[in-house]
């Protein structure tokens, strides 16, 4: 069989397993937590839903969660609803569909995360390679190492707090919160786009700087450990230009673990970014989940969690599927291993 297809097939199985296992965990968690939390949620709904629809909502939820039916029937119907994209009905915004509320928030999260992750990964890798290769000759640029260390060990949302204080409160260069100014009508015009970008600078910067620190450090140490490898020494002995050895030999090989690293840490990046949204009141999924927590809106929390898990699993699959582009061994021999 074509090795690439086999490789992608394996990844596809992992993708399906991830979705299956995490959805199963998501299903069983509220049913396994002691103290019948669902009852508390129903009681809360009556209070939060207030005057008009409380009774109607409780009936709706009894039916949706089907708590009177056997667990496996509930489990099957959970999957059926999920397959239809039905994530239930919000409590705080009754009777809005959870899926609709999340879909309007999703582009903000994906936009913020994709741009920051790609930029920090590329920039961090390139700078890390250059400084790692130069070693002691890099001069003042070696100061990047302790700076990156401090940045990397700082959580996004901690850096976010500092950035808000310095660049939005103390020197009000950037807006404090939100994704665009209040009263601005969303549309494809320059004023709106500039406004959106201005609002995105600080949230993006807090994610960017922290992840840049990590990609820089890991690429640098990869390049340093590759420098002593036989094939690099051999290339040097053959008189190949240094620039070519760095980018064509060392960097090329270091990209493999660096890409695996991206796939592995994607979950962490997303988790941290969700909390960063809270600091900036940035209207993505993380902020939605935060508001749902405040208003005891469990269906919305659950829907947000499901959506993020599926998105991360898909993104991971895409990174894995693109991996053979940089690792010819998988393309030609199929020796990708276990």
């Amino acid at each position: 069989m074509n090795p690439y297809i086999r490789y992608v097939g394996e990844r596809l199985i992992l993708l399906l397993a991830t979705i299956f296992i995490s959805m199963t965990v998501v299903f069983f968690v509220p049913r396994m937590v002691p103290g019948e939390p669902m009852n508390a949620i129903f009681a809360n709904m009556a209070a939060v839903g207030g005057s008009m629809n409380a009774q109607e909502m409780i009936v709706e939820y009894r039916v949706r969660f089907g708590l009177d039916r056997p667990v496996w029937v509930q489990y099957v119907s959970f999957w059926r609803e999920l397959a239809q994209g039905n994530l239930g009905i919000s409590i705080s915004n009754f009777p809005s569909e959870v899926s609709g509320m999340l879909l309007s928030a999703l582009p903000w999260t994906i936009g913020l995360l994709t741009v920051t992750t790609v930029v920090s990964w590329v920039a961090g890798s390139v700078i890390g390679a250059v400084i790692g290769w130069r070693g002691r000759k890099a001069g003042w640029a070696r100061l990047m190492v302790p700076v990156a260390l401090v940045l990397y060990t700082t959580p996004y949302y901690i850096l976010a707090l500092i950035l808000v204080f310095v660049f939005a409160f103390h020197w009000p260069i950037f807006p404090l919160s939100g994704a665009y100014s209040v009263g601005m009508r969303p549309g494809l015009n320059t004023a709106f786009i500039v406004d959106v970008l201005r609002h995105a600078v600080l949230p993006a910067l807090s994610i960017l700087l922290v992840s840049l620190g990590w990609w820089f450090l890991s690429m640098r140490s990869l390049i340093i450990s590759l420098k002593g490898e036989d094939y690099i020494l051999n290339a040097e002995a053959m008189g190949i230009k240094e620039r070519r050895i760095l980018w064509g030999y060392a960097f090329r090989n270091a990209l493999l673990p660096q890409t695996t690293g991206l796939a592995i840490s994607l979950g962490h990046i997303v988790g941290g970014a969700l909390i960063t949204e809270v600091i900036f009141a940035y209207p993505g999924i993380g902020y939605r989940i935060y508001n749902a927590i405040k208003s005891l809106d469990y269906p919305l929390i659950q829907g947000g969690v499901l959506l993020i898990i599926i998105s991360v699993a898909l993104a991971n699959f895409l990174i894995d599927a693109a991996y053979p582009l940089i690792d010819p061994r998988i393309r030609f021999e199929g020796s990708g291993g276990s």
Binding site: L14, A17, T18, I21, S22, V25, V26, V29, P30, V33, G35, P37, G135, R136, R142, V145, L149, V150, Y152, T153, T154, P155, Y157, I158, L161, I162, V164, F165, F169, L176, S221, I224, S225, A263, I264, L266, G267, H268, V270, G271, G272, L274, I275, V278, I279, I289, Y290, I293, K294, Y298, I301, Q302, V305, I308, I309, V312, A313, N316, G337, S338
Partner: protein
């Protein structure tokens, strides 16, 4: 095989791990900062009159220096006194969660790597799945249901999702160790699986587990502060995450009460940095190839 290329160094350096650790500068500096912070908080916490912990014990919104060391909150609490409670609590969450996660992970990794076959196939998929899913999301789901948990319960919940990374590493190590001569000899001499794991393999894993433990520690403190900022923290106790949560809740940033939010922020950064230095120290001792310039 996804086996890390470090196996050769484990066996030879195992006699002097502690000696090597205390010689490692990153390990000692990181460890010293960490211990200094923890001990200061613990000792100061014991000397403080418990009545001063109550809200309203101090004038509200005092800047640092005027009567209290790090200023006071909008509720008339001393930020410094809050820190003496928050640091040990956050460290406690980290320690318990890391212990639970590392032990669970080591167990799963040992079983998966040692027994192989179908057990390994199933466990490997589980490890890969839980490694790729952001565990913070599962934590949010659980914490949203069991609101108002204490520090201890919080630590256990976080620990229950901290096993995948140690499991993966331990599995890789066991795979590479179990084909070694001394394990084969042990098997031929009639030791059973569990005995080999405990007597022959465990001693080689200590430094790996050490590095993993510190890693899990960092992740757990991170998870605690994240959950707390989301409003899912131990609301009746003080942790570093809860300090930030309350500061944000009373919009400390916009009221220019910078000392309120900056104190836990700087403490968390110092905590993470010191723990990370300890982690690098562990890594360098177990993998001498990492000991490069600078």
């Amino acid at each position: 095989m996804a086996v890390a290329p470090v196996q050769d160094t484990i066996v030879e350096s195992h006699k002097g791990v502690l000696w090597e650790l205390q010689r490692n500068r990153k390990f000692t500096i990181g460890g010293a900062i960490f211990l200094a912070m923890l001990l200061t908080a613990l000792i100061a916490g014991m000397m403080i009159d418990p009545d001063l912990r109550k809200s309203g014990s101090f004038p509200q919104r005092l800047p640092p220096g005027e009567g209290t060391l790090f200023g006071t909150t909008s509720l008339g609490q001393s930020v410094a006194i809050q820190l003496t409670e928050a640091i040990p609590n956050s460290v406690q969450v980290g320690l318990i969660a890391a212990a639970v996660g590392t032990i669970l992970g080591a167990l799963i990794g040992f079983v998966s790597g040692y027994f192989g076959g179908k057990v390994d196939a199933v466990l490997r998929i589980l490890i890969d799945v839980f490694l790729s899913v952001p565990s913070l999301l599962f934590l949010i789901l659980i914490a949203a249901l069991v609101r108002g948990v204490g520090v201890m319960a919080m630590a256990l919940i976080i620990g229950a999702f901290a096993w995948p990374s140690p499991a993966r590493q331990v599995r890789a190590q066991v795979l590479s160790l179990k084909e070694r001569g001394f394990v084969q000899v042990a098997r031929l001499s009639g030791m059973n699986g569990m005995e080999i794991i405990l007597i022959e393999l465990m001693p080689h894993m200590f430094q790996w587990l050490g590095a993993n433990f510190v890693n899990a520690f960092i992740a757990a403190v991170l998870a605690e502060s994240g959950l707390s900022i989301l409003g899912l923290g131990p609301s009746r106790e003080m942790t570093l995450g809860m300090m930030i949560y309350w500061a944000l809740n009373y919009s400390a940033i916009f009221q220019n009460l910078w000392w309120w939010w900056l104190a836990p922020v700087i403490t968390l950064m110092a905590l993470f940095l010191s723990l990370y230095l300890v982690h690098i120290g562990f890594d360098e001792v177990s993998n001498p190839r990492l000991r490069t310039e600078g």
